[in-house]
Each structure stands twice: as structure tokens, then as C-alpha cells.
């Protein structure tokens, strides 16, 4: 957690580029995806294999926002304890799913605010 906390951008470190508006633009960090993989295999793997989240999964969600997906996952999963992960953990799971689908990581932590995530549109990886 400390490592994640220290990676938070301070105002002095904020990137000067516009915030990403598509999952193709590096919307999560490598550390988030690594932590998301642990959560996926500790918790989600009770019912889901990684294979479920590649290919059609991202094609289905393409055009919706990351906020839509975050809201869906955070209110319905895990099935036996919906909403029991922390918001940042749901973001980490989404980061891992994006990584599984070949979407690039970036320098900025993915938010766990649904409203902020609604500004990012889901797109599959190019090619």
C-alpha cells in the first residue's frame, strides 16, 4: 500500500498532458495491475478464470465508460460479498483486466471515483 501511496501524483508532479480519455492512453499503472492480479486470483478466481476477461469482454464494453464498468463490478462483485473490496482494489482489478487485454499502462494512477472514470471511454487495444 505504501508503494501505491507514494506513487500518487502530487500537484507538483501532475503530468502536463491532458488526462487520458481512452483506455488506449495509459489509464492505469503497472503496480495497479500487479495488485489487481493478486486480487483476481485471491478473490475473483473463485468463479472466474482470466480467459473470461479477454477478447469478447473488452469488445462488449467498448464504447461504455470505465466508470460504467467500475460501477457494475463494485456493486455486484464478489458475488458472495458485493462491495466488500475497497474502491482502490476495484480499480486495481480493472487495471489487471486492461493489462490482460493488451491495453497500455501509464504513469498516472487510475482513479477509484466513478464520476472521474466516466470520463474515460473503454476501447480495445489497436490491432
Amino acid at each position: 500500500m505504501l508503494a501505491v501511496a507514494t506513487a500518487l501524483p502530487t500537484s507538483a508532479q501532475e503530468p502536463e498532458v491532458a488526462p487520458p480519455s481512452s483506455t488506449r492512453e495509459g489509464v492505469y499503472t503497472v503496480e495497479q495491475a500487479e495488485r489487481g492480479e493478486e486480487i483476481m486470483h485471491d478473490v475473483c478466481a473463485n468463479c472466474h478464470m482470466d480467459d473470461e476477461f479477454v477478447g469478447t469482454f473488452i469488445k462488449s464494453w467498448a464504447g461504455a465508460s470505465v466508470g460504467d464498468l467500475f460501477e457494475e463490478v463494485s456493486t455486484s462483485m464478489p458475488q458472495d460479498r458485493p462491495g466488500s473490496l475497497r474502491p482502490r482494489q476495484y480499480a486495481q482489478v480493472l487495471a489487471y483486466i486492461f493489462q490482460l487485454n493488451g491495453l497500455p499502462p501509464g504513469e498516472v494512477l487510475m482513479s477509484s471515483s466513478i464520476e472521474e472514470l466516466r470520463e474515460i471511454i473503454i476501447e480495445g487495444s489497436q490491432g
Binding site: H41, M49, T56, F57, S60, T75, Q79, P82, G83
Partner: protein, 669 residues
């Protein structure tokens, strides 16, 4: 196929029941709760979920207010966010369970005050339990004048508690506890860890007590991608309600020489497990019969390791409660490879049909059918026909050539997936839906699972209603004995099953595969990647609405009376950017409504994750009469009782960010 040699005693009792029913002359007879109580998980032994109370009615429903809230969050190391319990009401107490420890509590029906609490001492069996959550409740019986509350714990022990005090009954089992891992079969059993062979067994439901015998079911871990084809079978057992002594065992996977053994090819009977009765049980104590429904044999989506018809998988079984002898059975799905486990307590009801009072038992299912039988003989009330079904091309699999098709009542949910069933809100969305679905094999009911990366270019196969569609445990069904009507809550759903070789299956739970350096695969020949379906474009549901519904079925004729969407169109549809400006009729919520029938109303909550609203509708027309706001969303079927002249409705609420509690509603004093 069916055994008809049930006892003369039972025949005499049945004749008595028929005469009793005929004298009152109503359309549907028998059952329903009595004296304002709710003595069984499903209200009465036939799981009617019907209360004859009428203080709350169409004129005053919207005056309902919250009288008390009982917090369940601290009954376990973490709050429970799912809470599927339905309390009993006996005399001056409510009895139910709470939290992942499945603590048993007695609650004051008027105020919500906790009167007593009991919990099982912790041991590794609790840690290893695959069903810590989902505790549905308790059973109650009177034994030699003393009220006794029975519970099955997550570690699969059964406890008998004094209803007055919550203290374990000393002469029941060992100081009030019976170890249910004992007596299942020839397994080594450790006192603290249970059965030591490969497999798991537990329970999430209450047992049922029938004429002095406690009948115990069971459940298992999910079977989507089991780590092995072996598991412990969910044999059904009967115990003496006073002493806890095991009286009988019915083998759901028959031993050599037992009926049905020949439906297991090779040695598959030796190692295949599951076939659990995880849904609550129902009974007819006059016939002395318990009605048991079962789930799929091990490995939900691949049966090549268990060729054959696989009796008594995915069946309804009528057992003599005193002896465990099979009276009759019906297998809903032969060689089940669709995870079509039976999810609901069978409904027991007498209904005037074709000029005679028919003793019915009804099972509502994930297949989208209500199977209706004469509960005395097992004869289907309307024909159930064996019809040819598509065959699997997965190596090693051998699908049953036919499956039973219910001809009446008509299905209450979409069955099978064709191009016509995909969303068509706009031409663009439809085109995108077709493209997404095109990767998979569409087909009718019982379309068999297929391979991921199949040589023909497909990645799996659709079936519908699938794992989460049709009827299921959270909402289930309810009956109106006054009018002979079945109400069933259903969800539109589908699964896309993609099979991968077990040896290539990715690691499952980290705690089962602790060493990342050691490959963690399944020894089953094939496993599914998961039970889910696919989304449509832009995260929308793939299939056309309604996403959730309640259907009323007249059991006198088998005809549907009406069908209504579950609540209003959800926000994620209403506000979806791709649907703005379109005129879309009410889609209903994508959840199982939780339903209760009373003398005056059909009452429903919208179910898990949906709006916290309690609705009242006209039983005969489905027209909405009123709605009241709840503190949080309902998660399971509710109950109703009368206490000190006041009718209460008690329901469990929980959800994302909402810790579990019971909420009691009544009219203002």
C-alpha cells in the same frame, strides 16, 4: 421408471387429505401458515411462501413503516453483504441465522431485541467451508413438548438448541451437536477437519423436520471449474429429532445393486460427487414424504468423466421421511452439463384440475420451466416429453440424446439464444450484438457447451436461461392456495460456456495453489472458464428485455395469467448514452424479485443490487397497487407474521456498502 409401492398408510392419509380439501371447495387447497406464525423457512412445510394474514392490504400498503431494524453485521469477522436468511416466527420469538459464522439468534417479534444467540465453536471446518455465507435459516420442531431450533453450520455440523434459551440440547448428538461429515460413506474423518478425501461438503439451507425425523441436505463448492472430477456425493440423511441419531441415508449416487446405479458408466459412481440438495427441502407430513431436489454431478459443464444418465443428478426425489426409501423421482436433466441445479424448495399445493383435487408438487427452475407433478405418484400433471437435443462434439463427452421438455405450463423465461433474441434498440447496436455473439454457437435449450478455440473458429456455446437466469434461490416462487396460482420470479439470462482442458486451466484460488512455482491445474478432462455470459455492445445486456419479471401461472389450467417486469427500468439503461432519445418500454430490473403472497396481495422486493422499494401488486392482474421505500435493497424472500394484533413483514437487506440487517415493517399503531 417410478416406484409406485408407497404404503397403504400413506394412501389412507392421502385419501383423508383429499376429503379435507374437497370439503372446503376452493380452487387451491391446503397449506399456508397458521396462527400468524411462520414455522418453516418457506412459511409452511410445503414452502408456499404464503401468509393468510390480511391486515396489510391494498388500501393501507403505502402506510407501512419501519418498526425495527436488527443489525447482523457483527455476527462474523466481516460484515455480511449478501444475507439470504428468512426468519421463522414461533410463539413469541423469531429465529434466524446471521453472518458467516451462521450464528443462531432469537429476536423479539415486536421490537427486534436480541433475546439469545448461539454460535458454533470455531474450528478448521469453518475456515475450509465453501458456504460460510448464504445461511438461509433454521428449522423448528416440538420434541416431547419442548421447542427445538435446528441449524446446520458452515462446517457441516447440526446443532439442536432449546428454543427458549438457545442452549444446546444435551441429549441430542454429543452435547447438542451432530457431526454431519460422519455417516456419509467410507471416508476417513478427522474430528476438526472433517472428511479427509478429495472433496468438500457443507450446507447453506436449514434442514426440515417431518414427523420426528430431521431430513438434512447439503451443498458444495461451485462446480464451474473443479480442480478434480472427484467429490463427496450429497447423500440425503434422516436423523431422530430427539437424539440426533442417524436413521437413514439415501444415496444420490447409487451404490452397486441400488436403483440407478447403471446410469453411471465405469467407475464414475465411485468418485463423482456433488448432486447436492442445496435448495431448501419441502414435505407433506400427511404422506410422510420429503421432497428433495438435487444439483448437477461434479463438473458442471463437462460430463466426459461421468458418462451415463447420472441419476439422481438434477432430479426431484420423493423420499419416505421415516425410512429414506424412494417413493418416486423425476430427473429434469439427464447427464446435466448445463449447471441446471434445482434452486427452489418444491411447492406443495392441492389444486382443482380437470375436475379433481390434484395433490401437486412444483419445482421452478433455472431452465425456465415449472415442473408440476402429482406429488403422490410423481406423474407429471401435464405431459413432459422426451425430445431430441443437440449433441456435443467435445472430445470424450456423450450428451444424452433426449431431454425432458415441459409442455405446460409454458416457459416463464427465454430458452435458448437465437439472433432474434439479441438487442435491437438501434440498428448499430444490433449489428454490434450480432458481431459479438457470432464468436459463439447459438442454439436452443440444451445447446451443449463447446471448446474455447474450437477448430471451427468458435469459442464456446450459448445456453439460456443459463447459470443466473430463470428462477433461482433469492426470489424463487410463491403460491396462492386460495386461487391455485403459482408466482415465479425470474431473470433473463444466458451463459456462454467455453471449455478448456483441465491441465491447461489457469490457477484457481491462490490459497488452493499457494506455490506459484507449482502448476495448479485441474485433473478433470475439461473445465469451463466460468459460468457467465457475454455483454452486449457498450456494456448493455446482450439479450432483449425484460431483464427480470414475475409470472403468474394458473395451476388449475396451466396457463399464464400475467407477467410483469421487476420494478422500473434501471438507471444504467435509462441513462445509457447509446439509448438517449429512444422510447424504451419498462425493461424491469436484471435481478430475481423476492416475493411473498398474502391473503390480499403479492408483495415483492426488486432483489439484489436494485432499488430499495417494496411493491404490492394485485394477485389476479399484476397491476401495481402501491410501493414503499426500504432502508436498503432486499436480498431474499421475506416473511410475514402476526404479533400482538399487528401484522409484520420482515425482510433481509444487504448489498454493496450495505451491511446486512433485518427490517420489520408494519402499519402505524
Amino acid at each position: 421408471m417410478r416406484f409406485r409401492g408407497w404404503s397403504t398408510w400413506a394412501a389412507a392419509a392421502m385419501t383423508g387429505a383429499l376429503l379435507l380439501g374437497l370439503t372446503s371447495g376452493a380452487a387451491g387447497q391446503r397449506l399456508g401458515t397458521e396462527g400468524g406464525e411462520w414455522r418453516y423457512w418457506g412459511g409452511d412445510e410445503g414452502s408456499s411462501r404464503y401468509s393468510p394474514l390480511d391486515q396489510i392490504n391494498a388500501d393501507n400498503f403505502e402506510n407501512l413503516e419501519v418498526v425495527w431494524r436488527w443489525k447482523a453485521a457483527n455476527y462474523g469477522p466481516q460484515p455480511d453483504f449478501i444475507y439470504r436468511a428468512t426468519p421463522l416466527k414461533v410463539g413469541d420469538k423469531l429465529f434466524t441465522v446471521a453472518g458467516s459464522r451462521r450464528s443462531v439468534v432469537a429476536i423479539d417479534p415486536a421490537t427486534g431485541e436480541t433475546l439469545w444467540m448461539w454460535r458454533m465453536r470455531n474450528n478448521p471446518r469453518w475456515e475450509a467451508s465453501t458456504r460460510q455465507n448464504y445461511g438461509k435459516g433454521v428449522a423448528y420442531a416440538e420434541v416431547e413438548g419442548r421447542g427445538v431450533v435446528y441449524v446446520i453450520t458452515p462446517g457441516y455440523y447440526m446443532a439442536a438448541l432449546d428454543a427458549e434459551t438457545g442452549v444446546p440440547i444435551p441429549y441430542f448428538g454429543m452435547n447438542g451437536i451432530v457431526d454431519l461429515h460422519l455417516g456419509l460413506g467410507d471416508y476417513p474423518v478427522d474430528a476438526d477437519r472433517g472428511i479427509l478425501s478429495s472433496g468438500d461438503i457443507t450446507s447453506s439451507s436449514a434442514p426440515i423436520v417431518v414427523n420426528g425425523v430431521i431430513v438434512v441436505g447439503n451443498s458444495h463448492d461451485r462446480g464451474y471449474y473443479p480442480r478434480r472430477p472427484e467429490n463427496v456425493p450429497g447423500h440425503i440423511r434422516g436423523y431422530d429429532a430427539k437424539t440426533g441419531e442417524m436413521i437413514w441415508k439415501f444415496n444420490v449416487v447409487p451404490d452397486p445393486g441400488e436403483f440407478g446405479h447403471d446410469t453411471w458408466e465405469g467407475d464414475s459412481w465411485k468418485y463423482t460427487g456433488n448432486v447436492s440438495a442445496w435448495a431448501p427441502l419441502s414435505a407433506d407430513s400427511e404422506l410422510d414424504i420429503v421432497y428433495v431436489t438435487t444439483d448437477t454431478p461434479t463438473n458442471d459443464y463437462y460430463g466426459g468423466d461421468r458418462l451415463g444418465g447420472n441419476l439422481f443428478g438434477t432430479s426431484i426425489i420423493a423420499l419416505n421421511a421415516q425410512t429414506g426409501e424412494r417413493v418416486w423421482h423425476f430427473q429434469m436433466v439427464h447427464h446435466d452439463i448445463w449447471n441446471y441445479d434445482n434452486p427452489n424448495a418444491p411447492k406443495v399445493l392441492d389444486v382443482m384440475h380437470d375436475g379433481r383435487l390434484v395433490p401437486m408438487v412444483i419445482e421452478t427452475t433455472k431452465q425456465g420451466w415449472a415442473y408440476v407433478f402429482d406429488r403422490e405418484t410423481g406423474e407429471p400433471v401435464w405431459p413432459i416429453e422426451e425430445r431430441s437435443v443437440p449433441q456435443s462434439d467435445t472430445p470424450g463427452e456423450r450428451t444424452s440424446p433426449t431431454q425432458p421438455f415441459v409442455t405446460k405450463p409454458a416457459a416463464f423465461e427465454l430458452q435458448g439464444v437465437t439472433e432474434d433474441d439479441l438487442i435491437d434498440f438501434t440498428p448499430e447496436l444490433r449489428a454490434a450484438a450480432l458481431e459479438l455473439a457470432g464468436e459463439y454457437r447459438m442454439g436452443p435449450q440444451f445447446n451443449p457447451p463447446s471448446l474455447l478455440n474450437h477448430p471451427d473458429g468458435t469459442n464456446g456455446a450459448f445456453h439460456a436461461p443459463g447459470a443466473n437466469g430463470g428462477a433461482n434461490i433469492p426470489g424463487g416462487s410463491s403460491i396462492d392456495p386460495d386461487n391455485g396460482i403459482l408466482y415465479v420470479a425470474s431473470q433473463r439470462g444466458h451463459s456462454v460456456i467455453s471449455l478448456v482442458p483441465g491441465g491447461e486451466a489457469q490457477p484457481r484460488l491462490s490459497n488452493l495453489c499457494p506455490d506459484p512455482a507449482v502448476p495448479c491445474a485441474s485433473s478433470a478432462t475439461y473445465v469451463a472458464t466460468g459460468p457467465g455470459g457475454i455483454r452486449g455492445p457498450q456494456g448493455l445486456p446482450l439479450l432483449k428485455p425484460p431483464y427480470g419479471a414475475i409470472t403468474a401461472i394458473d395451476l388449475k389450467t396451466g396457463d399464464h395469467l400475467w407477467r410483469i417486469p421487476n420494478g422500473d427500468t434501471p438507471a444504467n439503461i435509462k441513462n445509457h448514452r447509446a439509448l438517449q432519445g429512444l422510447d424504451i418500454p419498462n425493461t424491469g430490473k436484471n435481478a430475481h424479485a423476492t416475493i411473498l403472497t398474502t391473503k390480499t396481495l403479492l408483495i415483492y422486493g426488486e432483489g439484489r443490487g436494485q432499488e430499495p422499494i417494496l411493491h404490492a401488486v394485485d394477485k389476479m392482474t399484476g397491476e401495481e397497487i402501491g410501493r414503499v421505500e426500504l432502508p436498503a435493497t432486499t436480498n431474499t424472500a421475506m416473511m410475514s407474521y402476526m404479533h400482538d394484533g399487528r401484522q409484520f413483514i420482515v425482510l433481509a437487506v444487504a448489498g454493496a456498502g450495505v451491511e446486512a440487517e433485518l427490517v420489520a415493517l408494519a402499519l402505524p399503531n
